[in-house]
């Protein structure tokens, strides 16, 4: 019997990759007066609802989805949070 799961996936740029959009937002913050902000990095947040036999199988599938599609390992890292989807 398959279980329902909800995954929250955070895709972020690797630290070695320049994030000009983050830098632009940081300069906006500076104009607002937040001059103590040291850095801003912008990433992506993805929600996936899926069913799987158990948590481990859901994780395996999501890892593969992230490696192949959600993130590009050349420039991005990802983190998965998994919850019971009921």
């Amino acid at each position: 019997m398959n279980q329902k799961y909800q995954a929250r996936i955070y895709v972020t740029l690797r630290p070695s990759v320049v994030d000009p959009a983050g830098t632009a937002v940081q300069s906006g913050l500076a104009h607002m007066g937040y001059t103590d902000v040291e850095s801003v990095r912008i990433g992506k947040y993805i929600e996936v609802n899926l069913s799987a036999t158990d948590e481990a199988q859901a994780h395996t599938q999501l890892d593969r989805m992230c490696d192949q599609l959600f993130a590009n390992p050349v420039i991005e890292n990802y983190r998965i949070e998994l919850d019971d989807g009921e």
């Binding site: 990759v17 000009p20 599609l69 590009n72 420039i75």
Partner: protein, 217 residues
């Protein structure tokens, strides 16, 4: 030489390439919808510019899983020619046929311009027509053209002579090592952000791009 131009939903430079290979150069050419799965009759695969799948998620990330891409990868592995222009370059890096990735332009703008390029290594099939013109001008039009790769990959690209085009003037997009176009190690797969097909007809005032296509035939 028979040319096959891959068309994804959102490709928009496919017909420009067809005009060059079929009308200007008189070569047999067909467009190949991305859901097709057979390209055995084709000698050169061209992945054209555009915004495949709306550039959602990352440029080229979804196109890379279109049915035709398995055949494109097989075609490349057989040593046959694959040319990716602009979005096509992004698709080829996502597909793992070329190293590195293309990220957001340094200054965040979509750039539409004509830029000077240094042609490196005129001994490749793609660049042999430029031995007398080391500097050329080609149009660029992209928002995500900043070439990124880790330092080891960059070293390998440079020492293997895989960087075929470099921005010669001001680096427009922040690309590492001013890279505008690279090939794979076997040199049968090339990806480039500039658009040679948009500068191939002398009527448009610049035909620097035609030599890349002429070199193949």
């Amino acid at each position: 030489m028979k040319f096959g131009i891959i068309v994804f939903p959102g490709s928009n430079c496919d017909r420009d390439v067809v005009y060059v290979t079929r009308d200007l150069l008189g070569q047999p050419t067909r467009t190949i919808w991305h859901e097709e799965t057979d390209l055995h009759d084709v000698d050169v695969v061209v992945i054209p510019g555009g915004f495949s799948y709306g550039d959602y998620l990352r440029c080229g990330a979804i196109a890379r899983f279109s049915p035709i891409m398995k055949q494109v990868i097989a075609h490349a592995e057989q040593g046959k020619y694959v040319l990716g222009i602009c979005n096509g370059f992004q698709v080829l890096t996502e597909a793992g046929l070329l190293p590195g990735a293309l990220v957001r332009n340094r200054d965040l703008h979509f750039i539409c311009d004509r830029v000077p390029l240094q042609v490196e290594h005129t001994d490749s099939i793609w660049t042999q027509g430029y031995s007398n013109t080391p500097t050329i001008n080609l149009p660029i039009a992209h928002g995500e053209g900043c070439y990124h790769a880790d330092p080891d990959t960059l070293d390998r690209l440079e020492s293997n002579g895989q960087v075929l085009f470099r921005y010669a003037g001001i680096n427009p997009n922040g690309s590492l090592n001013n890279i505008a176009g690279i090939c794979n190690e076997a040199k049968n797969v090339i990806g480039m952000m500039p658009h040679p097909e948009r500068a191939a007809d002398p009527l448009l005032g610049n035909a620097d791009g035609i030599h890349l296509f002429k070199s193949l035939i």
